[in-house]
Symmetry: C2
Subunit: 214 residues, 2 copies
DNA sequence: TACTGTGGGTGACTTGAGTCACCTTTATTG
DNA sequence: CAATAAAGGTGACTCAAGTCACCCACAGTA
């Protein structure tokens, strides 16, 4: 299945802005790796040997607290790259975050040894990397806004909206305790806030999923 | 005062890793700008025409809430660069944060038109930029850790420790309400927590300044 | 069908932190 | 020196959010 042809298709579709020579290098040197539903792509403290471009599925990025808490940061979509893997790869640093596949996902692994050359030789790669940094940085800033300035009900609404947009589906298959986990809150609190949202007609609640109506 | 000779000294001292040719370019194309105590170097929404290296003083980075709240993120020291100005400069984006001079500060402005060339031509610049991204990204992650997982007293301790380390002085000339501002809390809360820290012998409290003892 | 595990609901309670009102101390300045 | 402003202290109150205990509903399965 993972023929060169297959990879070529992915790259053409997801990275149309890359120049042909760059695409060729990626096809020759990159390798596809598949991840099962819920599998970790990256763990806190893990050493990084390659940078990764997401080509299928959705990847969830978490920050891990000292006591094992998880805190959801953002999703990566096909066409996105892990900003941290790019930065850390160059410096041989270890990961500061956890990445988990939502459903199953596929990534294109690029050996770190290539990074310097790609940056130098291919303008479209250079801009892609900068844009990756910029958008992840902004995403982090909006995360900070939320936890610094907003209360739980606003954060919950923001979270559901992000879920709806990033997964492009009003039916959010998620349980209350998963949400509580992602927001570092507790199930009861989330349940109560969801009920209030339902009373305001912003969501409809079902077992194991939520319909987002805003 | 701002002779080429002066700038040469700054660059030699703060960026010894830069190759001579790069230093020469920076001297020829950069310009020094001075900021007074408390002056803004950057405002939310402002357009960026140049990237900035800090060469004197300390710069405080804030995130601004919708209702005008400020939330302190981190300090920049001489030898640091503003990561956001680097990223946004390339994309002609507007600033997402506020930067304020602590005491007086000096910055070396580099026109954005130079960025692409510098990245391509000078390896030491390229690594400098990547390292800037990486360290700011990590700083943001630790900010998230703090507000997501920690309670006010831990955040206060973390804040004071950062102040002590970054300004390299146990005597922290800051008022309780300034701290409250930076942590997006209120003066009374900070005063009470400080008093508890004092009782544990972790700080000594005076009018207008705090001695950090840990 | 009865058993069991998971998702979700709910009332009662606790607590960290923000707010309000009002006070004292200290520094500045006309 | 009196007036004023800013820094800081304190008790009382409020409230969002976390915790505890216990409940029911539903689905899978033995």
């Amino acid at each position: 299945m993972n023929t060169d042809n297959n990879l070529q298709n992915y790259i053409d579709k997801l990275f149309p802005q890359f120049e042909p020579a760059l695409k060729q290098v990626l096809i020759e040197s990159g390798s596809i790796k598949s991840f099962e539903d819920g599998e970790m792509l990256m763990q806190t403290g893990q050493n990084m040997r390659s940078t990764m471009l997401i080509i299928e599925g959705v990847v969830k990025l978490y920050r891990e607290g000292e006591d094992g808490n998880e805190f959801f940061m953002y999703y990566l979509q096909p066409g996105d790259a892990c900003a941290l893997s790019m930065i850390c790869a160059t410096k041989q640093e270890t990961s500061q975050v956890m990445a988990k596949a939502v459903d199953s996902a596929k990534g294109l692994l690029i050996p770190i040894s290539l990074m310097d050359t790609l940056m130098k030789e291919y303008k479209s790669w250079y801009y892609f990397v900068l844009e990756t940094y910029r958008s992840r940085f902004e995403e982090l800033l909006s995360v900070i806004d939320n936890i610094a300035f907003k209360s739980m009900d606003e954060r919950l609404d923001f979270y559901l909206k992000k879920l709806y947009r990033d997964l492009n589906n009003r039916m959010l298959t998620i349980t209350h305790s998963q949400i509580a986990n992602d927001l570092n809150s507790s199930r009861e609190v989330i349940s109560r806030l969801l009920k209030k949202m339902e009373q305001r007609g912003e969501v409809a609640l079902y077992r194991n999923y939520i319909e987002y109506l805003k």
